[in-house]
Symmetry: C2
Subunit: 396 residues, 2 copies
Amino acid sequence: MPSLAGATQDEVRRSNLSTVLRLLHLGGAQSRSHLTAVTGLNRSTVGDLVSTLAALGLVRERAGDVRGVGRPSLVVEPVSSSVAVLALDLRVERTVAALVGLGGDVFARVERRHRDGDRDALLDEVVQVSREVIAALPSGASLVGVCASVPGVVRATDGLVRVAPNLGWTDVPLGEFLRDRLGGGRGDVSVRNDADLGVLAEQVRGSARDSSTVVYLAGDIGVGGGVLVDGRPLVGAGGYGGEVGHMRINPQGHTCRCGARGCWETEIGFAALARSAGTSASGGLGALIDGAERGEPEVLAAFASVADWLGMGLVNLVNTLNPQSIVLGGHLGVVYAVAGDRVLAQLATALPAARDLVRITSSELGGDAPLIGASELAFSALLEDPAGMLRDSAAS
Amino acid sequence: MPSLAGATQDEVRRSNLSTVLRLLHLGGAQSRSHLTAVTGLNRSTVGDLVSTLAALGLVRERAGDVRGVGRPSLVVEPVSSSVAVLALDLRVERTVAALVGLGGDVFARVERRHRDGDRDALLDEVVQVSREVIAALPSGASLVGVCASVPGVVRATDGLVRVAPNLGWTDVPLGEFLRDRLGGGRGDVSVRNDADLGVLAEQVRGSARDSSTVVYLAGDIGVGGGVLVDGRPLVGAGGYGGEVGHMRINPQGHTCRCGARGCWETEIGFAALARSAGTSASGGLGALIDGAERGEPEVLAAFASVADWLGMGLVNLVNTLNPQSIVLGGHLGVVYAVAGDRVLAQLATALPAARDLVRITSSELGGDAPLIGASELAFSALLEDPAGMLRDSAAS
């Protein structure tokens, strides 16, 4: 049901500014006439919006390429050094931090392996890598947002990490911690599940660019899931949606880390692949890929088994969500490359109408998808209301 | 991602007219000051919007109740006889048609049992009951929309019924047929899956009124599913989403009508309950309810078994969609009433964060949910753009 609140003239202007800045952030430099055509707004309205964004320092105009005879058209481009965001990715074994400018330029990136499993040590490490990349902020630029990706269940409203088994975390107030430790002048701080950010990245800048309903599966020790429905994140009532790795798919199966029996991740997580491949798995995913390339029967059988269960669970997602794209990340992308025929054989049992519309791909962004998604989410407050945000930060 | 199109002043006015009419349609008579408070618009803007709607004949003002001293306030109410919609529900054994006025008044309702399984006979029956209820249209009123509910997979764009097993239908162009046979002056014609309409009805006028993310399960011979995410129907890329009855939940289970093995509906559909209850099931659901009340062990065991599988599948939906409400219709509402403890015991294995937020209820609207949802969807074009729609229909 649409919102029951009324719209005002100010909201229209804010929405149009947002639209134009988003086009430039995602599409890079483009002519005014292109912006006019894409937005459907008047030429003069677009000119006015561009001037406002230029006055805020977010975009600049330059002479474009001369096409045929006539005057060269003006090209509008985002000023990457005007504003930046801090993107953090807390992975199972390492922390990654990046400082990203408007338009997606990466100014600095730091990766650090976790030293031990202690919660406070990890939090200190996060602050340290954050400060290292923030030091690369161009002079005069504002930090307009921070977003951290976490392999766990996160309460979206305040960034409380409810549970992140692979970090050993329960109820860690990461959002509050980052707000305190990074101090003022860093824009909004948000924390999200890694796969929820991964699907955002794949849709905005990756394999699912032309799709509005997308499922992203991040294969790792567990299996994270992120879902977009009609271009919007499926996060549900509390922000906990998308945990498709905990669909119960095999009532006779193994007990999951979550306590339930037969969750999908007990059959398709990396542990299931390794268990099934036996001794060949001691070298990790690389060794399994080598084994598959050499045609080792035990390794091929392990990929085939995981592929069967992968396909079976995809049937559920196709029947339930009717997505255009399913993007497979981590070892699941490898499973699809090695044994895609078995995945598709299972998928043939989905309802035909939905099955015919879905495209399965391996992830284009690979392991960086959650980091890229975090940077996009950190930009969202600026992109929603550019003038309001920069006015507020100038006043503070 | 938000829309990339710009907003204009006309769109703002249209959106505000829409908001006010929707409030009156769903909430009935209310004062101008209440409308002002709920919409957040200026008093004068609301006055202007109400005048426009009154000029269109959709609402009227009358003196309200006197509260305390002072002048009685003006009350705005929808004029139920100004516009109406035709709602159709093609059930497995009967067709139901209703003519519904603005605000939800039912002017006429007809039910007819199917005479035989022939496709053309059923289509003729649909046209006949439609004409019978349309005859009750108040003089001067316009028919502003038609919507038909179908127990099957429907292409939303044109109302093609891809497959409706219980009607014996494959690729029946019901939308096109209704447009042809009902002639002009009947507004838009749409066709939707019954459970997709059921969830809409439960959220707008039923058990899930305060919820934005809702799962509705219609228990029948099969199990239909309808899902709302953040108040919007989860229909997916082609309109085929929400078929949760075809989640594969028991790889060792029965073969489903859809051809796959172990779909949820093979374990929780009415056929599963009847199979499990044995001879006690020959009297239908009523006999099973009686048996359960008398404490017959075979019947109680059948309810318990279906309740276990119901709970197990609900875990998947809770982990994936993180809904606030799950509404159980048909025999599934009865299963919950008889053996809710078993359902909740399974649900205890869902991820705690999501599990703590969900409320499970039996359907408030019962078997009429799809019909009520069809009437709401048929009103949606008028509610989106009241002035535009009535201007267009006056011109034609």
